[in-house]
């Protein structure tokens, strides 16, 4: 016991300033995370990071962090008034020293406030492999009963439909009206490009691209990669890369704004 009291006294005197500095670092870090989460939500950037189903979790957490920071500020002010800063009531056991973890949290939150998440583009799509077959997206095609008019199907719905009934010739001649971004696939001959979209299931870590090849019509010029387009035309079938597949024969290409929410579900 004697050792303890001898130790604890100098600790208080020399570390009091230090401890209160760390207390404020904690509060700032939590506050910054709260602001970051709410900022991503309010600026619609959560769209790029998360599936809509999980967004409420993110912004509620942000709000909760703000409350926590507020409560903690109040507590610290109260405690310092009564000279009882108790930063060490509960002991620390951690991989990282305290100032490091609080520092990392704060720095990353500040980085997040400066950095604007960008949706993935064609380069990532190529790296992850665009395909028209790989897809069984999170919503199984329950609604698919042949009810949707071909002209109303989105790109994802086309891929899903194709997944259920993968015979390309069955769709020949149907109307197409889809939106997506351009990928200049190296596998396709000239006069073709891929129109693609990313599908998200939970967060950006799991987005994967789906796409269909588009054949340019007479007098149509190709667009650079990552341009967002609305493609209208008819479905046709062709043999590309030794594989018989569905191709959109474009009759009209229209450049569109990049949608606020670049993913589909």
């Amino acid at each position: 016991m004697a050792t303890r009291s001898r130790r604890s006294k100098p600790f208080r005197l020399q570390d009091l300033g230090n401890v209160s500095w760390l207390l404020w670092l904690d509060i700032t870090a939590i506050l910054a995370w709260g602001v970051l989460l709410l900022k991503y939500w309010l600026t619609n950037k959560l769209n790029i990071l998360l599936h809509p189903d999980y967004m409420w979790l993110a912004y509620s957490t942000g709000a909760f962090f703000l409350v926590l920071a507020g409560l903690r500020t109040w507590q610290v002010v109260q405690l310092s008034r009564s000279h009882g800063i108790s930063g060490s009531t509960l002991q620390h056991f951690s991989l990282l020293p305290r100032r490091w973890s609080a520092g990392i949290l704060l720095v990353v939150a500040l980085l997040g406030l400066v950095f604007t998440p960008e949706p993935f583009a064609s380069e990532t799509a190529l790296a992850r492999g665009v395909t028209d077959t790989l897809t069984m997206t999170r919503s199984r095609p329950q609604a698919f009963r042949g009810g949707t008019q071909p002209g109303e199907r989105s790109l994802i719905e086309w891929v899903r439909t194709l997944n259920v009934y993968p015979e390309p010739d069955a769709y020949k001649g149907q109307d197409v009206n889809v939106e997506g971004f351009v990928i200049a696939s190296p596998d396709l001959p000239s006069g073709y490009f891929t129109i693609a979209r990313f599908v998200i299931t939970c967060c950006a870590a799991d987005v994967y691209p789906v796409g269909l090849p588009v054949k340019l019509g007479e007098g149509q010029t190709s667009y650079p990669s990552d341009t967002w387009l609305r493609v209208q035309g008819k479905m046709t079938t062709e043999t590309l890369n030794n594989q018989r597949q569905l191709v959109i024969a474009a009759t009209q290409l229209e450049q569109i704004e990049e949608p606020e929410n670049p993913y589909d579900y």
Binding site: M1, L50, Q75, Q91, P117, T135, M136, N163, V199
Partner: protein
């Protein structure tokens, strides 16, 4: 440049997704600390190591959190003297064997309910086996991070002295002078850090307002510590995701063996939370074998890059290598059996 941008987007998306679940885990852990006497919970655990491991695995039903959230709870259980079999069982099974994950997996695999039940069954089995194996190591402390090891009570003999199990605050730990726990014949290290377990056991008798104050402090402390390591794990996961082409992982094959290995590798790399990984696995349902999907769903919540960083806040590297190796082999064998006999 695009790569850097992609890596940052991935990084923040992992964090934004994991933060709520980490917060949930920290809240559970703090409530557990200040409003529940874990000693009672720990005392209820059967003495047989296999049963202890099983009961630890099932405790996950009480704490519906994913792997970002179960680490703080497991850490608290260990510090409170939970038997190793129970704590390890909890650590490995809790992210999967809980109502939220069951519901999410069921939502995703409505058409293949066998996956839902196989996932639960296999996770429970693996967690119990590993918990059982680790119970051979009665004193876990050499495997723990030194700071945690100092806070853990010395292991009790298999037959617990009844005095210890008593309810309410445990007098031995309240006063520094009686830190020698005579029953086990092993003196506890006299160390200021033990104060914490004293706080957590005596705190239940403090007034509510004080407990709320302490809870706030604990929430912030755990958020800070685990948030820090979560960030490091997410950073590594996103760098690897950007540098290793996913095609390469997928290209490993459709065959019964390599598909399982590929999905386990993928689970380790993408590090997504167990509450949502079923939806992710679903996107592979058409090209991957059932066994490999199962391997993804069972192995991912136990061990992934993000989670290893969190585990390092409890265990030394050596213990994590054991966990990783045993869990990996068991998952592989079970998934292979599923591939061969069930699909």
């Amino acid at each position: 440049m695009t790569k850097l941008n992609n890596a940052l987007t991935l990084f923040f998306s992992l964090l934004v997704e994991a933060m709520p679940f980490l917060l949930l885990g920290v809240l559970f852990s703090s409530v557990l600390l200040l409003f529940v006497d874990e000693r009672k919970l720990v005392a209820l655990v059967p003495k047989n190591p296999a049963l202890a491991a099983l009961s630890g695995s099932l405790i996950g039903c009480l704490f519906p959190v994913c792997e970002c959230g179960n680490v703080p709870v497991a850490r608290r259980l260990l510090v409170q003297g939970a038997p190793s079999a129970m704590a390890i069982g909890f650590l490995l099974a809790a992210p999967t064997v809980n109502p939220i994950v069951f519901w999410a997996t069921y939502t995703a695999f409505r058409d293949q309910p066998e996956i839902v039940f196989l996932r639960l069954g296999c996770s429970l089995l693996i967690a119990t086996i590993i918990g059982w194996i680790f119970s051979a190591q009665v004193d876990l402390r050499p495997l723990m991070q030194p700071a945690i090891a100092r806070m853990m009570p010395a292991p009790l003999k298999p037959s617990k002295p009844s005095g210890y199990v008593g309810d309410g605050p445990v007098p031995e730990l309240l006063q520094p002078g009686t830190f020698l726990l005579g029953q086990s014949g092993q003196p506890l290290r006299f160390d200021g850090l033990l104060q914490s377990s004293a706080v957590s056991s005596s705190v239940l008798s403090k007034p509510l307002a004080v407990r709320f104050q302490l809870m706030l402090e604990n929430i912030l402390q755990e958020l800070r510590e685990l948030g820090g390591v979560l960030i490091i794990g997410a950073a590594i996961a996103s760098i690897l995701q950007v540098t290793i082409p996913r095609e390469w992982v997928l290209g490993l094959g459709q065959d019964q063996i390599t598909s399982i290995l590929a999905m386990m590798l993928l689970a380790t790399i993408v590090s997504i939370c167990s509450t949502v990984d079923a939806f992710f696995a679903l996107s592979f349902a058409s090209i991957f074998t059932t066994g490999s999907l199962l391997a993804f769903l069972v192995f991912g919540p136990m061990i992934d890059l993000k989670n290893i960083a969190l585990l390092l806040s409890i265990f030394r590297g050596r213990a994590i290598v054991y966990l990783f190796a045993i869990a990996g082999q068991l998952t592989f064998v079970l998934a292979l059996l599923v591939n061969i006999y069930l699909s």
